[in-house]
Structure formats: C-alpha cells, structure tokens
C-alpha cells in the first residue's frame, strides 16, 4: 500500500510551510504523530491529520499563511488547526510542547525533500517507535499505538538499539513489547 497522490501533494504544501518557518524562526518544524508513522511505513496506515511541533507560534502561523494554508475556524481555539484548500481531506495541527519534551536527539531527524528544495522533517524511527510505545501504555485498551510501533520496528533497518531502549524508557514504554 502506497501513500496516495493527494497525500504526497499535501506534503508538498507542508514542505513549503516548513521552509518558510525555518527561514523565519531559524529552527526546524517536525512532523510527528500518526502522519510521521504513516510516512515511515510507506502508508501501512494513514491519518487525515498532520501534527507538527514548531517552537515559534507566530513564525509557524506566518509560515502557514504565506504558503496558502487557511485557519480551520471550525477546529476551535488554542494553537489551532489549518488546512490547505487544494487538499481538503487533510488537517494540520500545531501541537503544544517541545520536541519529545527535549528527550530526543533532534540531530537524528530525517529531512525529506518533497519538491524544489522544500522538505519535511520527521523524527528518527527510534524516537517514533518509543513515542508509540509510550502512548500505548496509557491507551486504555486501544492497541493501535502498539501495532504502529510493531510495524515501524518490523521494517526498520540499522536501528540504534541502545538509543531505542533508552528512548522507550524515557517515554514510559515497555521494550519487551518488541522483544527487547
């Protein structure tokens, strides 16, 4: 199963926004959550939302607006939701808090060029596995986070297992779910 064309198209617009954000803020925005897991697994599942960690609220809002995204006024207040009118099936949310609360090594992130030098930034697969396992521990019976972690782990190559185990423990997860 591959990611559909409109999903890739939406990522292109998001990459433009990431570039605009980095130019203004001097730091990178990072795509996290289910969308990051979906991309890492090449579409082994998908989500309709893109969660983004960006430290500068004003710079992020400016970047989104200048690259054609619109505020989703139906999505309430707070940091808020956005969408691009060319890709109505997807919503964007700037999530609060720092990048994995400062516990992850941001230099391990991946910069994926989507078009014309614009790129999205994803967490390292180790950080994403750890995040999913941490969320599984508080999931109240929903096994989806564990299933995402297993899919990521199954297809991963060249994992830094020492870093992975430390990060799983940072996130309150259980490495034994992966046989570690």
């Amino acid at each position: 199963m591959a990611l559909p064309a409109d999903y890739i198209g939406a990522l292109g617009r998001l990459a433009d926004a990431f570039a605009a954000y980095e130019a203004e803020a001097g730091s990178v925005a990072v795509l996290v959550g289910g969308a990051a897991a979906a991309i890492h697994t090449g579409g082994a599942f998908m989500s309709a939302d893109f969660d983004i960690v960006a430290a500068g609220d004003e710079a992020f809002a400016n970047a989104m607006a200048t690259t054609g995204f619109l505020r989703d006024t139906a999505a309430g207040h707070g940091l808020g939701g956005w969408y691009h009118p060319d890709f109505p099936a997807y919503g964007v949310e700037q999530v609060s808090g720092g990048y994995f609360d400062g516990k992850a090594d941001k230099e391990r992130c991946l910069r994926l060029i989507v078009r014309d030098g614009s790129a999205i930034v994803l967490p390292a697969i180790e950080d994403l596995i750890a995040d999913r396992l941490g969320q599984h521990e508080v999931s109240q019976g929903d096994a989806s986070m564990l299933e995402q972690a297993k899919a990521l782990y199954t297809i991963a190559q060249g994992l830094d297992l020492t870093y992975l185990v430390r990060r799983i423990e940072d996130e309150g997860g259980n490495p034994a779910h992966l046989g570690l």
Binding site: A48, G76, G78
Partner: protein, 66 residues
C-alpha cells in the same frame, strides 16, 4: 540531520516492507489506526471539520476515528 528525497525514502520503505512481509491487509491497516479514545477535544474538532470539508469537496476520505 540526514537528508534524502521523499521519493527515495518511500521507495526504500516499500522495499523494506516487501522484505519483511509486513501485513497490509485491510484488517492490519485498520488495527494501526488510532481509535480515537484519547484524542483531545481540539483534535476531534479538527478531524470532524476535515471530514466535512472533504465530503463537501468530493475528495477521497481518509478513515479516521474520533
């Protein structure tokens, strides 16, 4: 930070999935979808709004639980 193209990254992901034999049946894909029980109110609103917008535009819907 490692840099590569999205196209190359996705090609490699497809290869790794094939080698690992990752289950991509409808049931397995659905098992990986967030069932929505712990979503924030803001995320529920965003997903509801996104679904309405996609339906109005006649776009392909992405299955979401919220």
């Amino acid at each position: 930070m490692q840099t590569l193209t999205l196209e190359c990254f996705l090609e490699k992901a497809e290869q790794r999935k094939a080698v690992a034999g990752l289950d991509e049946s409808e049931a397995a894909v659905d098992a990986r979808r967030n069932k929505g029980g712990r979503r924030t109110p803001a995320k529920r609103l965003l997903l509801r709004s996104t679904e309405r917008r996609a339906r109005a535009a006649g776009a392909n819907l992405v299955a979401s639980y919220y």
